[in-house]
Every structure is written in structure tokens, then in C-alpha cells.
């Protein structure tokens, strides 16, 4: 039986980890994901899981230990944020290239500097080329659900790649929301048994993992890695459909919110989507044809499906909660690329918001739709790129 509970995003993540009961967790605490590691440590101390918890001395060692543990032949999880993942950077690539199905919760937080502990996506967006699948979460429920699905996706034999589940720091990680926790047994049934592939601990069949790979083979391996992650689009949808059958909540690669006849669309990612939905509803009441496309799977990026979903739009505003200094926002770049092949291209422009946890208010979103209305009427976009709600010039 599922239970309806009031719980923080971090608490929900820790509960999912308890239910998944990974063989090894290696983690180093960092704000705002700390509660995940703290709660899980308590589960270990109380004997609620059979996990070996490795309380490493840094995030670099956390990811290194995760890779080693996964290579040894079992289910492995971790959690981090911001600079913690930045310290893992080198090892993120190693985890993906060794095809280790590590599952990591990333509670999104701004990267230093200046040091800041609040939400933005500079951490995960910077890691978008590391070879990890990235799932984003609007709220506590979606974060929990994504994490329950993540081991299935990571361990799928067609993929066998690490998965990162992202949720916004404080806004989701620390906010108490009412949500459903599924039954432990039902979750464990859904996850199933871990199937080791060439485990290091099989001494009768010794394997070499992490060999030096030079010009004569490296690019073939990189192509294989790319092909594996591309096939994840299909697998993520299959497992999401299976999840819906088991637990009743439906997830696609993205969420098309009131998009069918929408002319003006916001594309957004993570918690701000909830606010955009409210504004969309209010404007729909007034007869405005507005909608939201909420990204769930950012890596691999579902170009074709998003192109199809936005093919009827007249103007698209892409909201990025990170800044790719010297370039357009990372989400914008993908969306504009996806739209390029449409014969009738919608206008598309980019707004950066919420860096370092700056609030995005309802009237900010109303102002975005007002601006897109103006652009639509003028049939031109004045500013392709701008920041929202920033003081001064």
C-alpha cells in the first residue's frame, strides 16, 4: 500500500534509497543534499538497509568508490550538490565510459564562485557532456519517482550507464510537500535484482577494467558509448510506462502541459515548471493560447519528440537556470537545435533566471508571457538572450 506523507525532497530521496537498498553507498555531505546522506546513515545505523556505507573524505573519492563498487558487481548510489559534483567531474566521465550503472541524486545548487548555496543548474548543466543520463524533477513526488526508476534505467542491459536525478536545492530539497511513498516491497519488486556484468570480484574470470585506450580504439568506444546513451530515450519511456502501470503516475521524456493548441510556449526545467503551470492556467482562463514544455530527460536529449511537440508553436521562450558564459543557455541551445529542422520554425528566445537561488515570482512569468505576446504581434524578437529580474544595466 502506498502512503501519503508530508516530507522534504531530501527526505523522499532518502526514503527511495532505503527502499532500493543499494549494496554500497559512498557519499560526502554537502549542502543542500546533506539530509539525504544523514537520513541514509541513520537507516544503516538502525539496520533498515543492508548497504555498506562508505563515508569518504571527498566527493572525488565518493565517485571513485562508487565506480569501484559498481565494477565489483553490485548496486551503488550516492548524492551530492554543486561543488561536490564539480570535484567529481573527472570521475563522472570515468563512470560513464566504464559503463557503471551508478545512480546519483544531484540536488542542484549554484557553483562557486562566489560561493552560494542556493538553487541553480550550473552544476548539472556543466556535466551534461559527461555521459550520464540526466532526469530532472519538478517536485518531491517526481524526484522520488525518478529515483525509483533510475536503477532500472541505469542497469538496463541496452544502456548500462550512470543516471543523475536532479532536483532544485532548497526549493524542493528542503520544502515539505504532500506526496505518495510506495510500498517497500512494491518498489523492490519494480527494481528487481541487480545483474552483474563482468564483475571484478569474479576471480575465476579475471577482467581488466579501465585499460589505456589509444588512437586505435578510443573513438570506437566513444561511439559505442554515444549509441548506448541514445538508446536510453526508448528505455526511459519503456520503464516510465512500466512505472505508470505499477504505481499509476505517468511520465514521458518531457511533459507537454496545455501544449496542443498553444501558440506561446515556455520551455522550463525543474521546480519553476510548477509556477509556470499556474500562470498558464490563469492565462488560459483569459483565453490566451499558452503552454509549457517541461523537460524531464535532458541527456539524452529527445530532439525529435520535442520538435514534434513544439511544431505548432508560434513563439517559444526557453528558461535557463544556468549561464554558459559566452554562449546562449544550455537548454536554449538544445531547443533551438531541435526546432531548426521544422519547415515552419517558431520564434525562439532565451531568458536566464534564478541564478544562485534568486526567486522566480509569478509576476516574472506573467511578464515573460506578456513579452512573448508582444514579440508575436511584432513578428520579431528584440532580445534573443537576456537575464530576468536583474538590477542595474
Amino acid at each position: 500500500m502506498s502512503r501519503t506523507v508530508a516530507i522534504t525532497g531530501n527526505g523522499a530521496i532518502a526514503e527511495a534509497m532505503r527502499q532500493i537498498n543499494p549494496d554500497v553507498v559512498a557519499a560526502f555531505p554537502i549542502t543542500p543534499s546533506t539530509q539525504v546522506v544523514e537520513d541514509f546513515s541513520q537507516f544503516v545505523a538502525d539496520g533498515l538497509v543492508s548497504t555498506e556505507l562508505v563515508t569518504v573524505e571527498s566527493e572525488h573519492s565518493a565517485m571513485s568508490a562508487c565506480i569501484g563498487a559498481a565494477a565489483a558487481g553490485g548496486r551503488v548510489m550516492t548524492a551530492t550538490s554543486s561543488c561536490g559534483m564539480a570535484l567529481m567531474w573527472e570521475m563522472l566521465y570515468v563512470a560513464a565510459s566504464q559503463r557503471q550503472p551508478v545512480v546519483m541524486t544531484l540536488v542542484n545548487r549554484a557553483l562557486s564562485g562566489p560561493i552560494n548555496i542556493h538553487a541553480d543548474h550550473s552544476d548539472s548543466m556543466g556535466a551534461r557532456d559527461a555521459g550520464w543520463l540526466q532526469l530532472y524533477s519538478e517536485d518531491n513526488q517526481e524526484a522520488y519517482d525518478n529515483l525509483v526508476m533510475a536503477p532500472r534505467i541505469a542497469e538496463h542491459l541496452d544502456i548500462r550507464l550512470p543516471v543523475m536525478v536532479c532536483l532544485d536545492g532548497f526549493i524542493i530539497s528542503h520544502a515539505v510537500q504532500t506526496m505518495k511513498l510506495e510500498d517497500d516491497e512494491a518498489v523492490r519488486r519494480f527494481i528487481g535484482k541487480f545483474i552483474p556484468v563482468y564483475p571484478l570480484l569474479d576471480c575465476a574470470h579475471p577482467v581488466t577494467i579501465g585499460a589505456l585506450d589509444l588512437q586505435d580504439y578510443y573513438i570506437e568506444h566513444k561511439r559505442a558509448q554515444h549509441q548506448a546513451i541514445m538508446s536510453a530515450k526508448r528505455v526511459v519511456q519503456e520503464i516510465s510506462d512500466e512505472f505508470a502501470k505499477s504505481f499509476g503516475r505517468n511520465y514521458g521524456l518531457f511533459e507537454a502541459y496545455r501544449l496542443e493548441d498553444a501558440e506561446r510556449v515556455i520551455v522550463a526545467i525543474n521546480s519553476v515548471a510548477g509556477e509556470v503551470k499556474e500562470v498558464v492556467d490563469a492565462l488560459r482562463e483569459k483565453g490566451e493560447k499558452v503552454g509549457l514544455l517541461k523537460i524531464r530527460l535532458f541527456r539524452p536529449f529527445p530532439y525529435e519528440q520535442i520538435r514534434e511537440a513544439l511544431s505548432g508553436a508560434k513563439i517559444v521562450t526557453v528558461l535557463d537556470r544556468s549561464c554558459s558564459f559566452g554562449a546562449y543557455g544550455p537548454l536554449f541551445t538544445e531547443i533551438r537545435t531541435a526546432l531548426y529542422d521544422l519547415p515552419q520554425k517558431p520564434m525562439v528566445y532565451n531568458r536566464v533566471y534564478g541564478l544562485g537561488g534568486r526567486d522566480m515570482l509569478m509576476n516574472d512569468i506573467e511578464a515573460i508571457f506578456a513579452e512573448s505576446k508582444q514579440y508575436q504581434q511584432n513578428e520579431t524578437v528584440d532580445k534573443v538572450f537576456d537575464f530576468i529580474g536583474v538590477r542595474g544595466d
Binding site: G68, A69, L201, P206, A211, L214
Partner: protein
């Protein structure tokens, strides 16, 4: 402990056909890993000479399960492997006993990997970390490390007109590891196979974390002939530059006392990396290395007396 003859009959952990330099002594200890113990072992290596030269895809010289992830995290990687082993064992998903060994050069151990090594040791994983100390970042072409001796010329501490090689005292890593309160810490040399085998066996079979620092002269880095590595290691021990000792649960034992310690200069001037110090104006550098060696040798004896 099996005899050398008996050990030689067992298959080594490292197969022939690896691509280490001619005359490199590091494969000696790598091969011995399976010969000194009857336990099954899993090995992890830091990026470095032994790693790159033993695993060029699609070949591998390793006859045992082996993993490499990156330079600074071999101990962390293996702490993950060992933790998974304990997890699967306690859940009844795995049978039999396995022991874990990590290898790293002085770059991956003294310097960039020191944090992850310290963390793994403090956490108490059941593994032996073996540092093969060749005294510089040899894999990338002889750059100075925390293990490079005073006065040695490397590509980043070259002997020049103004500066005669490295101007800092080498780090005493073995003592840093002793400070982790381990069951077993030792220094060995590649020239003494019986002492080395004993220490490898003790380290592997010790219950909990242990550390072994092995002096491994480097042919191109020390600028010596390809048949001189073992001799250079022996000579280093005879000068007391590299004492053979072990620390078991805090108790120091000096395993070898040279009858008459040789001057460090005799050892130095057999190596091209110290050649520049033959110029009389750099006499102080030769004396300084001798002073450091004497001081450490005396300190080590006091430790042995204090803890006996």
C-alpha cells in the same frame, strides 16, 4: 613463508609481454603479488607507469582482476571494491575470501593521491596499498615529486646555473602512514626479494588497512644503465637513504642494519640525476642530503627503541 624457489613455481599476477621499460624493477613486486599469498586477490592501480604499461587495450598483462580509474583515487576506488565485497559477503551473495591490493607510484601516492589514501586507511578497509617509489613523476617524463630526494635533477627541478636540482627535503610518507595507526606499515626494497615477499605477505594477510613503500629505481629517471636498478636499490639501503623497516601495531623494527653505512654521495654519483652536484660549488647540496639521511636514520632508531 614459501622459499623463492617455491614462489617461482606459482603463476605471477603480471604476465610477460607488458610494456614497462627494459630493466624496470616494478614488475618484480607486481608478479610476486600472487606468489606470496594463497588468497585470491583483486588489484587496483593508480594512473602511472605500471598502469599504462600493463593495460594497453586490447591487451592486458594482469592475470588477476584489475581496475584502474584515475590518478589520485586508486585507494578510493579500491575502497569501493572492498566495500562491495563486504556487502555481498554479508548478504550471502558471494563465497570465498578475497584480499585487495592497490598500487601507485610516488606521484599517485605521496602527492595527488595522498588524500584518498589517507581516507581509505582511516576508514579501515581491508587492503594493502603498495607505493612503488621511483622518486619522481617518471611516467610523464621525470618531473619532481614529494618523494624526489634533495638535490636531484628532474625536468621540473633541473640542475641549473643558479639552482642545483630539487631544493626541498623529501616527504616521509611511510611515517605519515604510521600516524594512521595501521596494523602493518613497512618499507622494502626491490633488491631484497625475501624481505619484500615477507612484507607483501604480511601486508596482504593483515586484517585491515596496511601500507608498503617499495624503493623502485627508475632507469630513465635516475639516469642509470638498464641492468642497474636492483644494484641502485641495494646501494640506497646500504647508505641508509632507504631503511628497511616495518611498524606492526605501532612497534618499529629495523629489518636491516648496514654494517658500515656507505656515504650517500657514493650512491648519488652512480646516478645521472645527481651528476650536476659533482661541481664543488654544490658541495652543500650533497652534504645536505647526507644530513637528512643521518637525521632520519637516527630518528628511526630512537623510534625502534621507544616502541620495542
Amino acid at each position: 613463508m614459501p622459499s623463492i624457489q617455491e614462489m617461482a613455481k606459482k603463476q605471477g599476477a603480471l604476465a610477460g609481454g607488458h610494456r614497462m621499460c627494459a630493466g624496470c624493477p616494478a614488475p618484480i613486486f607486481a608478479k610476486m603479488l600472487t606468489r606470496v599469498t594463497d588468497y585470491r586477490i583483486v588489484v587496483g592501480s593508480a594512473t602511472g607507469c605500471l598502469e599504462v604499461a600493463s593495460s594497453i587495450f586490447p591487451f592486458s598483462a594482469w592475470r588477476v582482476p584489475w581496475i584502474h580509474t584515475a590518478f589520485e583515487c586508486a585507494a578510493a576506488t579500491m575502497s569501493g571494491v572492498e566495500s562491495m565485497y563486504r556487502s555481498l559477503k554479508k548478504q550471502g551473495k558471494l563465497d570465498g575470501k578475497i584480499k585487495f591490493v592497490v598500487t601507485g607510484g610516488d606521484g599517485g601516492t605521496y602527492d595527488i593521491g595522498l588524500q584518498s589514501l589517507s581516507g581509505a586507511m582511516e576508514r579501515g578497509h581491508d587492503l594493502l596499498y603498495i607505493c612503488y617509489d621511483n622518486g619522481a613523476y617518471m611516467n610523464t617524463g621525470v618531473q619532481r615529486s614529494g618523494a624526489t630526494p634533495f638535490g636531484a635533477s628532474t625536468t621540473t627541478s633541473p640542475g641549473g646555473k643558479l639552482v642545483p636540482g630539487k631544493q626541498q627535503q623529501r616527504k616521509d610518507l611511510t611515517t605519515i602512514l604510521v600516524a594512521h595507526h595501521l596494523g602493518y606499515v613497512a618499507q622494502a626494497s626491490i633488491h631484497n626479494p625475501i624481505d619484500l615477499a615477507n612484507k607483501m605477505k604480511k601486508g596482504i594477510e593483515n586484517n585491515g588497512p596496511s601500507f608498503l613503500n617499495i624503493l623502485c629505481p627508475c632507469i630513465p629517471g635516475w639516469k642509470i644503465a638498464a641492468d642497474m636498478a636492483v644494484e641502485m636499490a641495494r646501494h640506497a639501503v646500504e647508505t641508509c637513504y632507504w631503511p628497511l623497516y616495518e611498524v606492526e601495531n605501532g612497534v618499529y623494527t629495523i629489518n636491516y642494519e648496514p654494517k658500515e653505512p656507505q656515504p650517500v654521495a657514493d650512491w648519488m654519483f652512480l646516478q645521472g640525476r645527481f651528476k650536476h652536484l659533482k661541481d664543488p660549488k654544490w658541495k652543500y647540496a650533497v652534504e645536505e642530503l647526507q644530513r637528512q639521511v643521518d637525521e632520519h636514520w637516527g630518528w628511526l632508531h630512537r623510534q625502534a627503541q621507544l616502541t620495542s
